[in-house]
């Protein structure tokens, strides 16, 4: 099993040392009902500089702690994530680390107007890291399309064509001319090519889009589910496994990855207090307002049809939203905040956040591994937690949790994509594939 860790690198103030600034920022996000679009007058460059350095230091240190992979991502125009150009951070890690994989989940291909430039950036990171790059591609959230002026109606076309083009740029001898529907390059001949041949391994992260899952299965790219609920994740595994069978192979743990929010500390109460901060500002529910999450044409017709028939919630597109928003009284704001943090109990029950001592955390992680059987596993640490507590959590994961995870992985046969190439187990035509996920385990969740 390949074990890595991830953080969004949130812009924050430590609530314990700077409670007022932390609360003020959170109130701004709550009033906005969205991290995306928060006016950048709220950005303090000194704070941003300090945080980016801390986040890089943590990543570099965690290699010494034994993590197999250092996972990064990218978002734009939001305090949710400071990694607005992830490849810059990846380049730093490429030089500052020696062993760990640098896992980019993922580069938002549609928002990068120049796919050739992206191919070159990634090739450089692979060379500097001496072949440790794992690139991944995403369509980018809806809000990224607005932040980068990338036409959302062509998002999936940009994505699929861009990925094909990058692979071609890495593998087809140049110079050649490329004329696609959306990308045009007169002279494709990148001098700097990746070290890993024929190209670095590619993993694809996602939030349960069946279209993406099927596309991954066809391409034999592992699919990494980003902290999605267990039941729908099992469904996605099944869709992947069926699509893989149509392609003539048996999917296995090497085809799947899972990102799990976790917080570990040496006493249960403190761990939960810190884990609860994962919900700061409304967390993913306030990633961006619906009209920014679903810009025109970004969703498939089927997804739009489903959305149209959801009961009209306060923030759903189609309904005038946010009337009077931004002028809440202190009491209304408190109610809003309390509602956000009240979700913690559900997250805990559904294993969407596992916060506790190692003794509490390990059996719950075992349950996740038993149900989903992923070959790739990433811890997710987030929320406004100070540097010392974050590092302590990483150290405890390394010392107490990771060894247990590795044993469980061995016991369950959770091979990763470096141990067995995804798509390398043939399946005879017409044979029914074996299910990778074991949903029976959902019936008995840890108390």
């Amino acid at each position: 099993m390949h074990i890595m860790w991830f953080t969004e690198r949130q812009y924050h103030y430590d609530p314990e040392t700077e409670p007022e600034r932390s609360a003020l920022l959170e109130n701004q996000i709550l009033r906005n009902r969205s991290f995306f679009g928060l006016p950048n007058e709220n950005f303090d460059a000194q704070q941003g500089s300090m945080l980016l350095n801390e986040y890089l230091d943590e990543k570099i240190y965690s290699e010494d702690l034994g993590f197999d992979g250092l996972m990064l991502n990218e978002h734009h125009g939001t305090p949710f994530c400071l990694g607005s150009v992830m490849d810059v951070e990846a380049a730093v890690l490429a030089k500052a680390t020696k062993r760990a994989k640098i896992v980019l989940l993922g580069n938002p291909v549609p928002t990068v107007a120049n796919a050739l430039r992206l191919a070159e950036e990634l090739a450089m990171i692979d060379l500097i890291s001496k072949g440790r790059l794992v690139p991944g591609w995403v369509r980018g959230a809806g809000s990224e399309q607005l932040a980068n002026n990338s036409n959302p109606a062509y998002n999936r076309e940009y994505f699929e064509e861009g990925v094909d083009f990058i692979l071609k740029a890495w593998t087809k001898p140049g110079p050649f001319r490329y004329e696609g529907k959306h990308f045009h390059f007169r002279f494709v001949n990148p001098w700097v090519l990746p070290l890993q041949k024929p190209h670095p391994p590619i993993w694809i992260p996602g939030l349960i889009s069946p279209d993406t899952v099927v596309w991954c299965a066809k391409k034999r790219f592992p699919y990494v589910a980003l902290a999605t609920k267990l039941e729908p994740t099992v469904e996605m595994w099944n869709i992947y496994t069926e699509a893989a069978a149509r392609e003539g192979y048996q999917a296995g743990p090497e085809n799947f990855g899972y990102l799990q929010p976790v917080f570990v500390s040496d006493n249960q109460q403190r761990a939960e207090e810190l884990g609860k901060r994962f919900l700061y500002g409304g967390a993913f529910a306030h990633f961006a307002r619906p009209e920014w999450m679903f810009p025109p044409g970004y969703n498939s017709k089927e997804a739009t049809r489903r959305l149209a028939r959801l009961p009209l919630a306060a923030n759903l597109p189609g309904k005038p939203i946010h009337e009077g928003g931004g002028n809440e009284t202190d009491a209304e704001l408190k109610e809003l905040r309390d509602g956000v943090y009240a979700r913690y109990e559900d997250s805990k029950r559904e294993l969407q956040m596992i916060a506790g001592t190692p003794d509490y955390v390990i059996p719950r992680l075992r349950k996740v591994l038993e149900v989903l059987r992923p070959g790739i596993f990433s811890f997710w640490l987030d929320g406004p937690v100070g540097y010392k507590d974050r590092v302590k959590c990483l150290e405890m994961l390394s010392k107490h949790v990771m060894p247990a995870m590795r044993d469980i992985g061995k016991e369950l046969g959770l091979v990763d994509p470096f141990q067995r190439a995804p798509g390398s187990v043939p399946l005879a035509s017409g044979r029914k594939p074996e299910s990778v996920a074991h949903p029976d385990g959902l019936a008995s969740m840890p108390a």
């Binding site: 109606a153 969703n299 189609g318």
Partner: protein, 264 residues
């Protein structure tokens, strides 16, 4: 027969593609080009004009009813598609009324071939960058917010509630999203204008043109009217006080009278 009862849909072929056209009324045909949210329905002004004229409203490809035509990637593609329809139906020269996005389509058709139209009515058309203010962004707000912003005061605008049958059904949500997606394909960038249009429109000096605008238009600032008028030498601008982006709904009586007089 009352005009509304005459309203029906016809399906045409334009090359390999289908085109659904809403047809209603009787008399000499008028081409009606709808706005960026779609075809809002048969309103009072349709009813009044269709007493003496046949209104032909093509439903744009990709807006939900007429199937998407993948090759149509910008407004000129769409304008050329409709020009072919007009030619092949032997409708040219035809009078045209274009609303907002439809006004831009009409302007592109006229710029490309002024002879395709006799008289042109452009109602708060996009297509030209306003020298003052910005065209409201359809792509960052829900469709219903955009719809509401399109009139000066939705609460006092009598026909507002009838637009898109109220606009709140799941089916209409899907239709709005189809319309927004296709509009994004056509006009994402530059947003809702063509920098060369003011130059190209100079060739329309023989087309009598009526520009209708609300002085309080929050979608397309009225400053754009000056540029249209400067480029179209035979254009008259009618700017209505106390009116937003929908003169045909907000000031329907005045709109009907002026347009009837203009078209003859």
């Amino acid at each position: 027969m009352a005009a509304k009862e005459s309203v029906h849909e016809e399906t045409h072929k334009v090359g390999a593609d289908q085109l659904i056209v809403v047809k209603g009324g009787s008399g000499k045909p008028v081409l009606v080009l709808h706005e960026e949210l779609g075809y809002p329905g048969w309103m009072k002004w349709n009813e009044a004009l269709s007493e003496r004229r046949t209104l032909l409203t093509p439903l744009y490809p990709g807006f939900g009813r007429t199937p998407l035509a993948n090759w149509i990637m910008n407004i000129r593609d769409l304008a050329s598609f409709f020009a072919r329809f007009v030619r092949e139906q032997n409708l040219a020269p035809i009078d045209v009324i274009g609303f907002s996005l439809g006004g831009w389509v009409a302007a592109e058709m006229a710029a490309n071939d002024p002879g395709i139209f006799s008289k042109i009515v452009l109602v708060a058309p996009v297509g030209i960058r306003p020298p003052e203010g910005e065209i409201k962004d359809l792509f960052t707000v829900p469709a219903l917010i955009y719809l509401r912003e399109s009139v000066r005061d939705f609460a006092s605008s009598k026909e507002f509630g009838a637009l898109y049958d109220g606009g709140t059904s799941p089916e209409q949500y899907e239709a709005f999203e189809d319309a927004r997606a296709e509009t994004a394909r056509l006009a994402w960038q530059p947003y809702m204008f063509n920098p060369s249009l003011p130059h190209l429109l100079e060739g329309t000096a023989n087309n009598p043109t009526l520009l209708v605008w609300g002085r309080e238009d929050r979608v397309v600032p009225v400053s754009a009217a000056q540029v249209y008028q400067k480029s179209m030498k035979n254009a008259r601008a009618m700017v209505l006080d106390g009116c937003g982006h929908r003169p045909e709904v907000e000031k329907s009586e005045q709109f009907i009278k002026e347009v009837q007089n203009f078209l003859g």
